[in-house]
Each structure stands twice: as structure tokens, then as C-alpha cells.
């Protein structure tokens, strides 16, 4: 939201090939960890988590021959810091199947403080009692504020608090790429 109004330097930390390989590996790990369980459901966190979940589902179909259902979740109404987010609309959540008794993999683009994951876990529990919930993220940038850890990670990227990780995916952006951006005030020069 602030990127247009601020001057920034972007550094590419994951290329499109890196992203493709990381997603392929995560897909294999999900299958391995869940023993090929066909009840598996993927739930992406809006917006980019959903696209990543769809790609993981396509990989799983390629590797294992079945397509896990993919849901999309907007955990906004479950956050404890809603004032940070009231300018953007709340988006519909869509969970295509009951989660009751099924293993669920929650998918997001970046794992940071863990607050989104906490909110998403609460939201998921309103859609049935999953047999287990695991968490996958394309990037783990550290700085956790809650006791939450990922089960599947594309890449660990150490960051400073004033840096921003920007995940670009062709579904919504012009390219597949992850950039590390140092935020600095407008006009501050570099």
C-alpha cells in the first residue's frame, strides 16, 4: 500500500525459477508428510496465498494424480489489530468442503509476525474441526511475535524490521519474483 508513495530499492531474493523449485519441493514435502492422504485440503490466505495454494495443488496433481480442494480465506475479521486494515475491503472466504476430520495445509506468501496465521487458525476453526492443520509459506522473514512455526518454507530470508518482502506472482503481478525492499521516507534520497 505504501510502496507507491515511498522511495525504495528492491533487491531480488527469489527468481521465478527459484519460486518454481521451492513450490515443487513444498508440494513433495506436503505429500510425504501426509502420506498421500487424499482428504487433504489446501487453504490459501487472500490474495497471494490463494495463488500459491493453487500452484501447489497443480503440482500435487502432477506428482500424485489427485487434485486437493483449494479454499481461500480472508482472516481480517479475526485479527486483533483491525485498525491497521480498515481501508481495504474484507473479501469473501470460500472453503469448498467441510474441514471436519481432514488434514489442512494453510498457505501464505510471507510468514512474519505470525499474527495473520493466528487469525487464520481461528477462522479455520469455524469451518469444522480439521484433523490437523499445517502451515506453508513461500518466505519466512523472521520477527515472530507469537509462538508459531511453519511446517513448509520456500526460503528463509533474514530481514530488518524496516524492510519489506514483496512477493510478486504472475496471477496478479507482471512477474514471478520475490524482492526485498528497504522502506525509506519520500524524498529521503538513497
Amino acid at each position: 500500500m505504501t510502496d507507491q508513495s515511498s522511495h525504495y530499492d528492491g533487491r531480488v531474493v527469489l527468481s521465478s525459477d527459484d519460486i518454481r523449485r521451492a513450490m515443487a519441493r513444498i508440494s513433495h514435502e506436503i505429500l510425504e508428510r501426509n502420506g498421500g492422504n487424499r482428504d487433504l485440503v489446501l487453504v490459501g490466505v487472500q490474495t497471494r496465498g490463494v495463488h500459491i495454494a493453487n500452484r501447489l495443488a497443480a503440482n500435487i496433481e502432477l506428482f500424485e494424480g489427485f487434485v486437493p480442494p483449494v479454499g481461500s480465506l480472508d482472516p481480517r475479521l479475526y485479527r486483533d489489530d483491525p485498525e491497521q486494515a480498515s481501508v481495504h475491503p474484507v473479501r469473501p472466504t470460500s472453503i469448498p468442503v467441510s474441514l471436519e476430520g481432514r488434514p489442512v495445509v494453510l498457505v501464505d506468501d510471507v510468514l512474519y509476525t505470525g499474527r495473520t496465521v493466528r487469525a487464520a487458525l481461528n477462522a479455520l476453526s469455524d469451518f469444522g474441526r480439521a484433523s490437523r492443520i499445517q502451515f506453508a509459506a513461500l518466505v519466512d522473514r523472521g520477527h515472530r511475535e507469537l509462538p508459531i512455526r511453519p511446517d513448509y518454507i520456500g526460503k528463509n530470508i533474514p530481514t530488518a524490521q524496516d524492510e519489506r518482502v514483496m512477493v510478486k506472482l504472475t496471477e496478479v503481478d507482471d512477474t514471478d519474483q520475490v524482492e526485498l525492499i528497504r522502506m525509506s521516507p519520500v524524498g529521503a534520497g538513497t
Binding site: L77, S86, V87, P89, R91, P92, D126
Partner: protein, 353 residues
């Protein structure tokens, strides 16, 4: 953020029961009290002070809220710990219940003040009632009042956000948002769509707000109703661009309003209007302006028929179309909850000052 509140005028208590119509002053005040700040919503007092962008965001959010209403577990913790008080100085079923459900689904505590059972009946002024409610650490006040401008008056004197649930003949912004939402659902977009509004335009706060909202969203509005129930100067055949209503036309004949319209909205005829001599007879009104199957057929095929409720079946709307395939009256009620959730969420989630 709270500049409007810092310049707190010396108190000028408007008595809730006997205050004069203050629509004009209220309009001026609302313009001053609503600095547009980065799209954040402070109060919702009328449609005038919303930008098209803000309306779009609220309607988009209502989409997400509607999904919540369809869940098995219709409860989220979004406004947990917040208190919303509704104060209705006028009777209402759907609006009050709609606000109450909206607040509860979002996890807020909702307290309904029934005016007849409160100190208002002992003569407490609107000003003092507002201060009392504020002292209870309320996070949002939802007010309906028979006098235009009353919610604006309250907003100037309390720090809690205020939502106008209908004031006099002035505004009913949440009704407009739900009408816009319903139309957007049915038509995809409002841009360039012809919407016919039929009936008592003069006294209808719904019509006033809806016209403003529809115009803001790029729709073409055609009005039709008895000349006695049209604002002064809104004569048949006139476009209202000179009064700042670009895209609004007053039709000479009902057929002209309905023909080829993308949506039809009929307004409630209040019995009081007939008593006041605006209408000779409800049957005559029904003959001339009532929406029935034959007249609805003039609109585009499948055009949605809206009514803000409560309906007088057989007067402004015939029973067969009121419950027919094109009627979206029940969807309006359901959408009303979603839209009010979006409003309460946008207003309350900012946290206390």
C-alpha cells in the same frame, strides 16, 4: 482527526421532541465535520460526504460480510469488546434488527435503547441523552430520529462515531448502500444503468439518499411521482443538473420512467401523506403510480424491483410483483445486514481515540 470535535460550540440543546427541522444547517455542518482523510470513515451521516471510492470499498467489504452470514458459524471476533448502542426515536423493525444482527455477527455487544422506555419520555434532550450514552464508553452510536440533522448534531457533541439510521426527510445512508449493493449484485455495475424511482420523492429520505448515491456511482436516475410529492421546482420533463443532480430526470409519464429501465424502485406511500392532503385517494395513487405486472413489463427483461419496506401491497406495489420473480425485497433485507456489518466494521475497527 478530531478537529471538528475540538471546536465544540457552546451547547445548543435541540430537544429531541420539539426541535425544528434543521436539514439545511445539518447539511452545512456535515460538510465541515467530514474532512476526507485517507478514505477512513469517521461517521456515516449521509451519502453526500462519501466518495465513490469509499462507497466501492464498503460495497466490496459487504461482499465479504455476506459470505460470513452464509456460514454455519455466523460469528466473528472482529469487534469483540466493542459496544454499539442503537437509539431509535422512530419506529423501525428491519433497520434496527439489521444493525443489531450486524453488530452481533461481528462480535460486538449491541444495546438497543427504546425511546419510549427511556428517560427521553421524561423530557431528556437529545444532547443530554447523547452525553449519557457517551459516558458509557460506547464505540458507535446508531441513531434514527424524526428530525433531519439530529444525527449530525449528536456527532458534533460526542467523540464516538455516529451512524445515521434515518433522519427526518433528510438521509438514510445505510439503506442507500444496501440498495446500491443489491443493484450491483443484479446488474454488475451501476455505470450507465437507468434506474426508475417511483413514488413519494418529496418526503422520502430513501429517495434523497438513493438519488445521490446512484448519481455518484454513474447511474441515470429517472423519477416519477405525483406532482404534490415532488420537491419544489422538480417539474416533469426537467433534468436536475442545475440543482447539482447530473443524470437525474423527472419523467412526465410513468411509462417513460419505466420503459427500458434496468431497475425499478418503488417508494412507500405513507398514510400520513393522504391525511395531509397530498393525495386524493390511495386507490387513485395505485391506479396512476402503483407498480404492477403490466407496468413492470415496460422495464428491461428481468429488471430487479426494489422496495425499501415496509410495503403497502396493493398501493405502491401489487402483491404479485411484490413477491414475484423480479422482486429483490428479501435480498435487500439480507444485504442490509451485510452492508451494515461493513459500515460498523469500517467505523469501529479504528480503535478508540
Amino acid at each position: 482527526m478530531t478537529t471538528s470535535r475540538e471546536v465544540r460550540e457552546t451547547q445548543a440543546p435541540v430537544n429531541g421532541n420539539t426541535g425544528p427541522e434543521t436539514a439545511e444547517t445539518a447539511r452545512l455542518e456535515s460538510a465541515a465535520a467530514e474532512p476526507v482523510t485517507d478514505g477512513q470513515l469517521r461517521n456515516l451521516l449521509d451519502i453526500d460526504s462519501l466518495s465513490r471510492q469509499q462507497i466501492d470499498t464498503l460495497l466490496d467489504s459487504a461482499e465479504g460480510m455476506l459470505e460470513v452470514l452464509g456460514r454455519d458459524v455466523k460469528k466473528t471476533p472482529a469487534l469483540r469488546g466493542k459496544t454499539i448502542i442503537t437509539v431509535f426515536y422512530e419506529n423501525s423493525t428491519r433497520t434496527r434488527i439489521s444493525f443489531e444482527e450486524a453488530g452481533k455477527v461481528l462480535g460486538a455487544d449491541v444495546i438497543n435503547v427504546s425511546v419510549s422506555a427511556s428517560s427521553v419520555s421524561k423530557g431528556e434532550s437529545l444532547y443530554n441523552t447523547a452525553l449519557t450514552l457517551q459516558a458509557m464508553q460506547v464505540d458507535a452510536l446508531v441513531i434514527r430520529h424524526p428530525h433531519s440533522g439530529a444525527p449530525h448534531f449528536v456527532a458534533r457533541h460526542v467523540s464516538a462515531p455516529v451512524v445515521n439510521a434515518g433522519d427526518g426527510m433528510h438521509a438514510h445512508p445505510t439503506q442507500t448502500l444496501l440498495d446500491l449493493f443489491t443493484l450491483r449484485q443484479k446488474l454488475g455495475t451501476l455505470e450507465g444503468k437507468k434506474v426508475a424511482i417511483v413514488g413519494d420523492v418529496l418526503y422520502s429520505r430513501v429517495a434523497r439518499s438513493d438519488i445521490l448515491g446512484l448519481v455518484k456511482m454513474g447511474a441515470d436516475v429517472v423519477l416519477c411521482g405525483p406532482p404534490t410529492l415532488m420537491p419544489a421546482g422538480w417539474s416533469p420533463g426537467e433534468t436536475l443538473s442545475e440543482v447539482g443532480m447530473e443524470g437525474v430526470l423527472v419523467a412526465e409519464r410513468l411509462e417513460e420512467a419505466l420503459e427500458d429501465s434496468d431497475a425499478v424502485m418503488t417508494l412507500r406511500i405513507q398514510q400520513e401523506r393522504q391525511d395531509a392532503g397530498h393525495l386524493p385517494d390511495l386507490r387513485e395513487y395505485s391506479n396512476l403510480y402503483g407498480i404492477n405486472r403490466k407496468r413492470l413489463a415496460l422495464a428491461k427483461k428481468g429488471a430487479p424491483l426494489l422496495h425499501p419496506g415496509p410495503m403497502n401491497e396493493g398501493v405502491e406495489i401489487s402483491s404479485d410483483v411484490a413477491h414475484g420473480a423480479q422482486s429483490v425485497v428479501e435480498e435487500q433485507v439480507r444485504n442490509g445486514v451485510a452492508v451494515r456489518m461493513a459500515v460498523l466494521y469500517a467505523i469501529c475497527s479504528r480503535g478508540r481515540d
